[in-house]
């Protein structure tokens, strides 16, 4: 997509103005001039975030019909519904940048845009539902709370709404795990098994190490991002360790220990090969997640077409009646 407005003698002045606004913690709004790179970075990041919400419905949706109590069923259904809502808020933010949601959906199902790799892991037991709430939503919150101050107004506003609901989600996850840990041996084993499978992928959610994340500096200068990947990852580990102790689960990392000097936890090396493999599409569920999304989209085409046709007919009727 080309934007013609950013060519011309005043671009330098516009850019200086833009930089001043951003540096002063001002907000950039949809019709403001913005550098094309800023716009592209935002579209990529917000779309990826929106796709993550929508694809993220699948691993949890996997357990709605089997939820073992009606209270859990209602919570899970409402949570997955919230995620559809979050996806919609975020797609709405991308629309303000001039991208159509239909176009982004096509890019998603054609594997031209990414979503968070965490959702390419399977949910194998009901404890996974609790662990997704606790660890995955927890990591998402660490990442997202700073985004409430993102320089782009529509994104920041969407994030405020989303973060409010995410904290409910995380609490329900933790509460579910506490209930299971207070339950039978089988339930406790289920929780530990789920923690063992989700811990490392949740650390990967913060993205590559800072040295391997070349876009980070620019995103931070633009105030799209507020902290580096490694800063957020460290914060997440430090917050999660005492919670794991409170729950009575073991985080599967023998190198995890408090470092008095750094006043932070040391932790083991992340398996970046696995990370890259999943990012490239070879994770346990990549194909399945995309196939499901594609099927829903394509199976819904006749419905969307019908509604469009009906609206056109009604518009004609209105005109002829007038």
């Amino acid at each position: 997509m080309t934007v013609t407005e950013d060519q011309g003698p005043d671009v330098a002045a516009l850019e200086a103005d833009f930089d001043r606004t951003v540096a002063a913690e001002g907000r950039v709004e949809p019709r403001d001039w913005m550098p094309e790179g800023y716009r592209k970075t935002l579209i990529r990041q917000i779309a990826q975030h929106a796709h993550s919400e929508i694809i993220g419905m699948q691993p949890e949706g996997n357990w709605i019909l089997r939820a073992p109590s009606l209270r859990r069923k209602a919570i899970l259904l409402a949570k997955v519904q919230d995620e559809a809502g979050h996806g919609l808020y975020l797609y709405s933010a991308t629309e303000t940048l001039g991208v159509d949601r239909g176009e982004l959906t096509e890019k998603l199902i054609d594997s031209k845009q990414k979503y968070s790799s965490i959702f390419n892991y399977p949910t194998l037991t009901f404890a996974d539902i609790g662990v997704i709430g606790w660890l995955v939503d927890g990591a998402a919150i660490v990442n997202q709370v700073p985004l409430c101050r993102s320089s782009y107004g529509p994104y920041a506003r969407a994030m405020v709404r989303i973060c409010k609901e995410e904290s409910f989600h995380q609490r329900q996850g933790f509460e579910l795990l506490r209930a299971l840990m207070a339950g039978t041996d089988a339930q406790r084993e289920m929780v530990q098994d789920a923690v063992d499978r989700w811990w490392w992928p949740s650390l990967m959610m913060f993205g590559p190490a800072d040295g391997d994340s070349p876009n980070t500096q620019q995103s931070m200068a633009w105030r799209i991002k507020r902290h580096t990947n490694d800063e957020l990852r460290q914060r997440y580990v430090d917050m999660t360790v005492p919670q794991a102790e409170a729950l009575g689960v073991t985080l599967p990392d023998p190198e995890l220990r408090w470092n008095e000097e750094r006043e932070a936890h040391d932790f083991g090396d992340i398996d970046w090969d696995e990370f890259m493999q999943v990012v490239k599409g070879a994770g346990p569920c990549n194909a399945q997640r995309l196939a499901n999304r594609r099927a829903a989209h394509e199976n819904g085409q006749w419905v969307r077409d019908a509604a469009t046709a009906y609206a056109a007919k009604q518009a004609v009727k209105k005109v002829t009646a007038a």
């Binding site: 005043d10 975030h49 629309e95 968070s116 994340s213 990012v279």
Partner: protein, 114 residues
């Protein structure tokens, strides 16, 4: 739940969308008055085939069917917007749209590389 992990750090540029979108519902902007005594406030947008469904969808999405909330929906292409910065001449041609980027203009299908 979810987040944007920085997995595209190594992906070059934005791949250009080359598919043909089929019937896509128009965009509606949504304004909500949370309670009496307040103004309607813009809360976001959604897609719907027509006004009636736009209201249904807005109620579901932005108010979660909270009763007593007043909602306005208006098609995005029906809004005329001011330029953010009157001294800037670049905005003159697009000063009539809410968002000023390319896909908000009807482009005939047979025009390449627009």
């Amino acid at each position: 739940m979810s987040m944007a992990d920085d997995t595209t750090a190594h992906v070059e540029g934005e791949p250009r969308f080359d598919g043909t979108p089929k019937a896509v519902w128009p965009l509606y902007e949504v304004f909500v008055r949370g309670k009496r005594g307040l103004n309607h406030v813009h809360v976001g947008s959604l897609h719907a085939p027509d006004d009636t469904m736009a209201l249904h969808n807005a109620r579901n999405l932005y108010t979660r069917r909270n009763e007593g909330v007043s909602i306005w929906v208006v098609r995005g292409d029906a809004i005329t917007a001011s330029s953010p910065d009157e001294k800037d001449p670049f905005f003159a041609p697009s000063g009539d749209k809410v968002y000023r980027h390319p896909t908000f203009y009807d482009i005939p299908d047979n025009v390449p590389h627009l």
